[in-house]
Amino acid sequence: MISMSKAEVIIDFKGPISFETMEMLLNKLRSAKEFTEMRKPAKKRLYGTVVESIDNIYKYGAGDLAALKNKKKMPLLVVERKGKDFTVTVGNLVMSENIEDLRFKLDRVNQLDMEALKSLYEDVINQEAGEADRGAGLGLITMALRTEKDIEYSFVPVDHEFSFFKMQITINE
């Protein structure tokens, strides 16, 4: 069903993402009227989802070199309110060779129910620090635990080396 309510854009960012950009985007979120009006639990879930989404760009992003080569394919972050739902959409270039791994992790968190997700969370968080830092998917599991809907995603090939990865997480107010 197509939602009839109009989307209100809270953040619409496109450009290189650095740690400083993260601070700027979080400031923008914190000062948005739609955000300040939210109930606290949902507010924290949205805040956390934005942080984890940006972290995900660091972890899986193809990096500055790829962005330079493909200037039109800069990372993006969009936060919107549609009625009672808030959506966080994040996009960035990834190496096509990493798609399989990312797809596996996304499908896994989408398929598991809450109890199974919690048990996966426990397995991953107890791994050695080095493993959990990069690519173990703790961020994706955390996001999946905070949303009732699936994480929607797509990969669009850019050239033989890179694809543009987009994912959307919905937080219910």
Binding site: G48, V51, D55, Y121, I125
Partner: protein, 134 residues
Amino acid sequence: MEKLIIEPTLNSPRVILDPQKNQFEFSGESRPENVRNFYLPILEWLEKYAGELSGQDKSNRTISIQIQFNLEYFNSTSAKYILDVFKAINTMSDLGIEVSVRWLYEEDDEDMLEVGMEMSRMSKLTFDYVKTDE
């Protein structure tokens, strides 16, 4: 043992590890740029402190430690290291020291309460859950 104090920033918590005052506290937000670099010195400090406690003369021994966690938000990578902090604290309780953990959470922040319960279960430490107004 020399105390370890880390001042907070926008993205990293205030950390107080002060054996003289028996004050141990983590507060604020945790999503530092390099989570590993932030938590490694803390974990090393705790390990060293546990070593010092285990070497203490029984008649002149630290018998209880209270640690307070008042975190408003932490990201998933920080969660991993915070669990390691609890595991390090647990080694002190293995030495026969009475360790109590206060886990503060804002009223109606059920997610933070639930994460605390998970951390308690995974680290095998008992937490006291304290609801705060703000």
